[in-house]
């Protein structure tokens, strides 16, 4: 039988996906312990610090699990839709990126677990970690750049060979995602390489704190869209195929992605609303820009449900909501991402609260925020990625999903949702009551307010334990997928509905969109940055 997916590329994809799930497992162990500690149910042995665990959890989940899965997924789709195999140069860049990122990850985990970098995944200066921690981060970022260049290379060649043709939607979206990543990571790379590495090695004796935080958050917000956009690729391009329907509109899908590219970067101040050193006008300006991403989000919601309804009606569904009934609820490749979509509704609403300028004071640095991103990244994005794994691993390894694994997948999805309800729900509530995030077990000297938080922390611990069962189950499923029966699985790429309009070509004029993105960034950041360069600097501290 002819393989439906290039086997050599399959190895590259699989290497990324397996690394991602290994990170999920290790990060999940840390997460479980965090929940149990905060719930007052266990005390860590003296040689393991809570903040060491929390650093490992943040880095492994937010940076490693996500980035590896995303790069693996994007390479798979780019290989499949741009010619059926990667060019040698693209494949080589993919492997080089993988090795550089992995060297960084291994080094980083060793430094974190040896207690030399308990600075959390945001590594705010002037807390000064071992220089090797920053070197590790730099390697991860540089590795991801190389991987990104591989995708650009494949795309450029394809376009050169298909002049005048519209690129495949998947490839277009992959390029937007990685372009945004390249532009955004310049901030954190500058912070790490120019500020933190020389300072932690002792070559310079102080660091500009406000500037370092600003560079971090210039990267930190687009980071969340870097997680989300690949999930959107699955929703826009893959899900229509899986439900047996059509993509609602190619043009609107591309427009939504371009809007994400423009509005997800010049907005980092919404993470710095509560801090000094940034003027109120500039904070508000970036709040306005932040809110602009709501428009493509609303467009995405519309497209998804339009796809579902059109598909249902084409299959003869009657009544206002009859189309819901014909969706393939028993197919994990649909069900897991669909639950992710549903969760994104409250998750997105919570995000609007967080970004609301002065209203941020109610939630800033409380467990509400932790509850929020366990809905966005750890549920909407993670469940979508899990849903992808059930067809991606079989596709790239030449196997098929079995009914038993499909059923286990449905169970895994439900376990995850229940666990998250019990963990994230109480986090939101107790956060509104004031309980801080990133804080080991404490009752603040039995202060009555803090005592009232404890029942919620216990619920969080129970939810976290259920979630951990979900982690074990997905890891089991991934291993089982690797041993599934041989066969060929077709890469699910949706087609555009006949009624949809032709896509305007200007959506692929990169110079225009990059130009506008850069202009918006300069507009939002230049004057505040000039101010910051004149700011004071601080020596470093090791407080753990």
């Amino acid at each position: 039988m002819i393989p439906t997916f290039d086997r050599k590329d399959g190895k590259l994809v699989l290497a990324h996906v397996l690394f991602a799930f290994a990170a999920l497992l290790v990060g999940g162990i840390a997460g479980l312990l965090q929940g149990l500690v905060r719930g007052g149910m266990v005390t860590l042995p003296a040689n393991i610090g809570y903040y060491e665990l929390l650093t490992a959890h943040g880095v492994l989940m937010a940076l490693i699990f996500t980035t590896y899965f995303i790069i693996g997924f994007l390479y798979s789709g780019v290989s499949h839709t741009l010619g059926g195999q990667l060019r040698p140069a693209a494949r080589k860049l993919g492997w080089t990126g993988y090795l550089v990122m992995s060297a960084g990850t291994v080094l980083g985990v060793i430094v974190i677990l040896s207690g030399k970098a308990s600075v959390l995944y945001t590594f705010y200066a002037p807390m000064k970690a071992s220089p090797w921690f920053y070197v590790a981060l730099a390697l991860v970022v540089v590795g991801s750049w190389l991987s990104g260049f591989g995708v650009f290379c494949q795309y450029r060649r394809w376009r050169r060979e298909h002049r005048g043709k519209l690129s495949p939607l998947f490839a277009f979206m992959a390029v937007v995602t990685l372009l945004m990543w390249q532009i955004a990571t310049i901030g954190v790379a500058a912070e790490v390489v120019v500020q933190l590495i020389p300072w932690s090695f002792g070559w310079v004796d102080s660091v500009n704190v406000v500037l370092s935080r600003t560079l971090f958050w210039y990267f930190g917000h687009p980071l969340v869209y870097f997680w989300l956009l690949p999930a959107y690729i699955c929703w826009y391009v893959v899900i229509p195929k899986i439900i047996g329907g059509k993509i609602f509109s190619d043009a609107l899908a591309r427009l939504a992605f371009i809007l994400f590219l423009l509005f997800s970067i010049p907005v980092g101040f919404h993470h710095q609303l509560m801090e000094p050193g940034i003027g109120g006008f500039w904070k508000f300006l970036q709040v306005v820009l932040t809110f602009m991403v709501i428009i493509p989000s609303l467009m995405t919601a519309f497209s998804m449900f339009a796809t579902f309804e059109m598909n249902g009606r084409a299959k003869g569904a009657k009544g206002l909501f009859g189309w819901l009934r014909v969706l393939p609820w028993k197919d994990v490749r649909f069900f897991a991402p669909f639950m992710g979509m549903l969760v994104f509704i409250p998750a997105g609403a919570g995000g609007i609260v967080n970004a609301s300028n002065q209203m941020n004071a109610v939630v800033h640095n409380t467990l509400w925020v932790t509850g929020h991103f366990h809905l966005t990244v750890a549920t909407s994005v993670a469940l979508t990625f899990f849903g992808i794994a059930y067809w991606l691993i079989p596709t790239v390894t030449g196997r098929v999903l079995t009914p038993r694994l499909n059923r286990l997948g449905i169970i895994q999805t439900l376990v995850w949702c229940v666990g998250m309800l019990f963990m994230s729900g109480p986090m939101h509530i107790v956060g509104l009551m004031g309980s801080p995030r990133r804080t080991a077990y404490t009752t603040y000297g039995d202060h009555p307010d803090a005592i009232l938080w404890m029942p919620y922390h216990v619920a969080m611990a129970i939810g976290g334990t259920i979630l951990f069962a979900g982690v074990l189950l997905i890891v089991y499923n991934v291993i089982a997928l690797m041993r599934a029966p041989k066969g060929e699985t077709v890469y699910p790429i949706g087609e555009v509905a006949e009624a949809a309009e032709a896509t305007p070509r200007y959506l692929e004029r990169w110079s225009v969109w990059i130009g506008i993105a850069v202009a918006l960034i300069l507009f939002a950041y230049t004057i505040p940055l000039i101010d910051m360069f004149r700011g004071v600097t601080s020596p470093g501290f090791v407080t753990w």
């Binding site: 903040y51 929390l54 308990s118 959390l120 705010y124 002037p126 807390m127 704190v209 406000v210 935080r213 043009a251 609107l252 427009l255 710095q272 509560m274 801090e275 000094p276 050193g277 003027g279 109120g280 904070k283 508000f284 709040v287 306005v288 809110f291 709501i294 428009i295 609303l298 467009m299 519309f302 339009a306 609007i352 609301s356 002065q358 209203m359 941020n360 004071a361 109610v362 800033h364 640095n365 409380t366 004031g434 801080p436 995030r437 990133r438 804080t439 080991a440 404490t442 603040y444 000297g445 307010d449 309009e501 305007p504 101010d531 700011g535 004071v536 601080s538 020596p539 501290f541 407080t543």
Partner: protein, 156 residues
């Protein structure tokens, strides 16, 4: 680009709500004094906090009728001064900085929540109408003792 009629309605409602919401936030921030904290930008040399006024004498002083000024220094892992006390109905203007790493300053049960950065001076004001012992805690991770970093304000 052509939009479906229903999508136009959907986006129209969404964008109108967005504009309205931003207008409310903006009006509150710029003409009703409900802006995020630290409007004014002041700096201090983080190596010389203990020698620089007003941080050389952390404490609370009365500046008017039921109006106080609290000068505070956050450090790993506590706040100076350790105890604050005011009569109910008092307004306190807080001025603070950090003598080491980044800290948080959250007064539980109020909307006071801000970051304290070395080298920067943070400002915020609050009127304490209800008597009680308010918990102040650090909500930004600052090191091993972070979960012990707290103080209280007694409002009588």
């Amino acid at each position: 680009m052509h939009l479906h009629r229903l999508e136009k309605t959907w986006l129209g409602i969404g964008i109108t709500m967005l504009a309205l919401f931003l207008a409310i936030l903006g009006t509150m921030a710029f003409s009703m004094g409900m802006a995020p904290p630290s409007e004014h930008h002041h700096t201090v040399d983080p190596r010389k906090v203990a020698e620089t006024a007003p941080f050389d004498r952390p404490g609370i002083t009365q500046v008017g009728d039921k109006h106080y000024e609290a000068v505070m220094v956050a450090y790993a892992f506590g706040y100076e001064p350790e105890k604050l006390e005011v009569p109910a109905g008092s307004k306190i203007d807080f001025t603070m900085t950090s003598s080491d790493v980044v800290h948080g300053f959250e007064i539980v049960g109020t909307n006071i929540n801000l970051m304290v950065l070395p080298g920067e001076v943070s400002h915020i004001s609050h009127t304490f109408d209800q008597p009680g012992e308010y918990l102040i805690l650090c909500n930004e991770y600052c090191g091993t003792g972070h979960e012990y970093m707290k103080t209280t304000i007694v409002v009588k």
